[in-house]
Symmetry: C2
Subunit: 429 residues, 2 copies
């Protein structure tokens, strides 16, 4: 099922070859880099805030410290040839310092990463580059917000430009009063992003890997479904996407990676609109939840691919190994005991791949994921969702995928009242 | 390509469920268990002799100590629910002590493991069970050895019953004088194993996983080719094996696992004779070199499967994910710099999967392996062998698979003069 170019390309030993990688952040994305690093024999050092964090539990080499503590991040950089990220919350100033002092290669670099850190910077840059976005406005106060809402047609999506994840920092509003708390919190230079409420048929995600020298590899475009604004189900490849549209979207993702100078994995979250357009939602420059399927479903999983890109190695074949792979997230639910649930899911279906992150269960928290691959999409989906229910401990384990699992027309983010917690960026994925 | 039984089997939380596993030995087999343990969130503790051993380099939890030091192995057992092995060199008395004191579940147990530790015990037991073996003799002195050689037809294979690996402890002899050193070393109760020199068409390997409750899963039978008595190439599934013969061999492996009470992975090394019979060569009760293909090529890799069996979890689907998967070992050669070689191999072929063990290079030492999967066997083989040559640094990297790589009629072990090194069981695989 793979079709690599098999012509031998003799390559001399690269003296600039990266021999060790530091990962800022100890969440599940850092954790899932570890198996890939072991197989490639590429030493990883994880900067985590506690020994109990997801990646720190299984890392052979952990530094304790915060992602926003310059001394901690610099100490990591000093130990490694290249620095990469579990999440996008490392302050720009810290990265600038490391880049200026050439302590280690920052991959992706600060100039690229800012577009995954700040949604206003991202919207502005993509718009100037001519990449398709929803209509958007930058607002600084209630009057500007009301004007934007009116321009958007009476309802709009407001986003805090920085620090959001899993829908924290995203809210549907009809009047500025619906975001009065965020407006009150704006500092002197602060602004909010307002977007039209996109009438989407479904959400897609396009992942590409890019090396420092510009070589890139594009994964099949996938369909992702969020539940309560959290990624819940991913189908690879996206059903019903014709080859031409697929290549167009892969081209868009490659162009963004090239335009912004991304190194490593880039995920482009997209809306497919009811009227057939494709718009960029946001960017992530790291392995992404919508790419977890590739660990089991592609010749080269996204975690291995990210490390290969960051280490300036040749990129691997991103081809799928089966006609369909479905990933379903494990979001904390009724059961505290994931091990027992996982045992039940594996007992029920020998083909399900269970990935647990070593995190304690809290309602809605991402604690793992499952994948199932096969020839028949509906069968594969049903099996993946059943496994999810068995592990999470929901009562309806024997039933069909629940109603939130399918592609839905016009799914919109639910208003969130819980404030974002900038001290817990570890849920990023 | 998977065909699991998808009927849901509700399973209650198992109070006896294994929640942590200790691995005796810090070689590459222990190392490759770690990624699987991370994904299953099953804590592993590795007993290694040095921080620099293959598994110790990447393990988050390492105890330092020797496999033949009762205190060290008991300390490991006390920390874990179940004990398993990187190699088969742990003395029986140590295992008996742990079993008697119920410090932890020993999997496989001592009574099973002895058949992988002592080739005379294995031959005797398999013969009594009626499983097919080469003709064999137990000899205690030169006169008995000469008699056995004569009975075998003038040439025979002599084996030290314990401590052998990678052909150390295996020698072709024509007279007792050819093994005079081994005879001189025999203690009062000592004996050597003599076998007829089997005229084999090729070597096969059958792997099964078995749980404590007897549930088992059989992998496709593979073909393995040794070079200088070390496993070099594995083709999965074995070419030209008809379905009936495959099931017969899988049945043999399952029967041996059941008869001996194996828990975990069992590899049955086999000869397919020129006259069409299948004979057991030897047994390994752990992940085995002939199963490395499954990490990339099967729904459930052998390391994950071993942990699932040892932890009393449901076994995973052993089905292959591609028509052919070829594994080639990386045996230390000209180049010290595996990272550069691996970079070149990945540059030449995006579909090759490289696994490095973090070991320093010594001639002939197993330092890693590669796999390639695909539809066309000759293409897949050529790609895997080219990758091997690029990594190992052999000059003929652009050529075809070398002459030792193909199935050969009558391949026999080369006489070995290097004495076995019982203090370095870490090469076991
Ligand atoms: N302009 C929009 N129109 C309609 N729906 C939107 C819009 N923007 C966001 N959404 C919905 O809200 C979800 C979360 O938005 P977004 O991806 O910007 O937030 P986030 O908190 O950064 O999420 P992530 O966890 O992906 O980082 C989207 O996946 C989509 O379902
Ligand atoms: N009776 C025999 N007749 C012919 N060849 C044999 C015989 N026994 C062993 N060999 C050859 O020698 C190789 C090594 O033998 P064996 O597997 O018993 O040794 P080992 O040192 O335990 O190897 P391993 O590394 O598999 O543990 C076999 O793979 C086979 O090629
Ligand atoms: Mg998003
Ligand atoms: Mg052998």
């Amino acid at each position: 099922m793979t079709s690599p170019d098999t012509a031998p390309v003799p390559v001399a030993a690269d003296p600039a070859c990266v021999r060790s990688i530091g990962v800022v952040g100890g969440g599940q994305l850092a954790r899932m880099m570890i198996p890939a690093a072991i197989e490639l024999d590429l030493p990883l050092v994880v900067l985590a805030t506690a020994e109990t964090e997801s990646a720190a539990r299984v890392s052979a080499d952990t530094l304790l410290g915060r992602h926003d503590d310059p001394a901690a991040v610099r100490a990591l950089a000093e130990r490694c040839d290249a620095l990469t990220f579990d999440h996008e919350h490392v302050p720009q100033e810290i990265l600038h310092g490391i880049e200026d002092d050439a302590l280690s290669a920052v991959r992706p670099g600060s100039a690229a990463l800012v577009h995954a850190q700040d949604k206003l910077v991202m919207r502005d840059r993509l718009t100037r580059l001519g990449h398709p976005c929803p209509r958007w406005w930058e607002v600084r106060d209630a009057a500007e917000l009301d004007a934007a809402i009116a321009a958007a047609g009476g309802r709009a999506v407001v986003k805090t430009p920085r620090g959001g994840y899993d829908g924290h920092g995203v809210r549907i509003v009809e009047t500025a009063a619906d975001a009065s708390d965020w407006i009150a919190d704006l500092g002197a230079d602060g602004a909010l992003l307002v977007e039209e409420l996109v009438d989407f048929r479904r959400e897609l995600s396009a992942q590409v890997a890019r090396r420092p020298d510009g070589a890139s590899a594009a994964y099949p475009v996938v369909q992702s479904t969020q539940r309560d604004s959290i990624c819940f189900e991913v189908i690879a490849p996206a059903p019903g996407l014709d080859e031409e549209r697929q290549q167009e979207i892969q081209g868009l993702a490659r162009a963004i990676a090239e335009d912004l100078g991304v190194v490593g994995m880039l995920a482009v979250e997209l809306f497919e609109t009811v009227d057939g357009r494709v718009l960029v939602n946001e960017l992530a420059m790291r392995p992404h939840n919508t790419g977890h399927w590739s660990m089991d479903g592609a010749v080269t999983g996204q975690f291995e691919q990210h490390l290969r890109a960051v280490a300036s190695r040749a990129l691997g074949d991103p081809s799928p190994k089966a006609p369909w792979t479905v990933m379903v997230n494990l979001l904390g639910g009724a059961s505290e005991d994931l091990a027992a649930g996982a045992a039940a899911a594996m007992e029920a279906d020998a083909g399900v791949k269970v990935h647990l992150y070593g995190k304690s269960v809290r309602p809605g928290r991402k604690v793992g994921h499952v994948t199932v691959a096969g020839d028949d999409l509906e069968d594969v989906r049903a099996r993946a969702h059943r496994a999810e229910r068995l592990i999470i401990g929901r009562a309806d384990a024997a039933g069909a995928p629940d109603e939130t699992a399918g592609p839905e027309s016009g799914t919109a983010p639910r208003p969130r009242t819980a404030p974002q917690d900038p001290t817990d960026p570890r849920s990023a994925a």
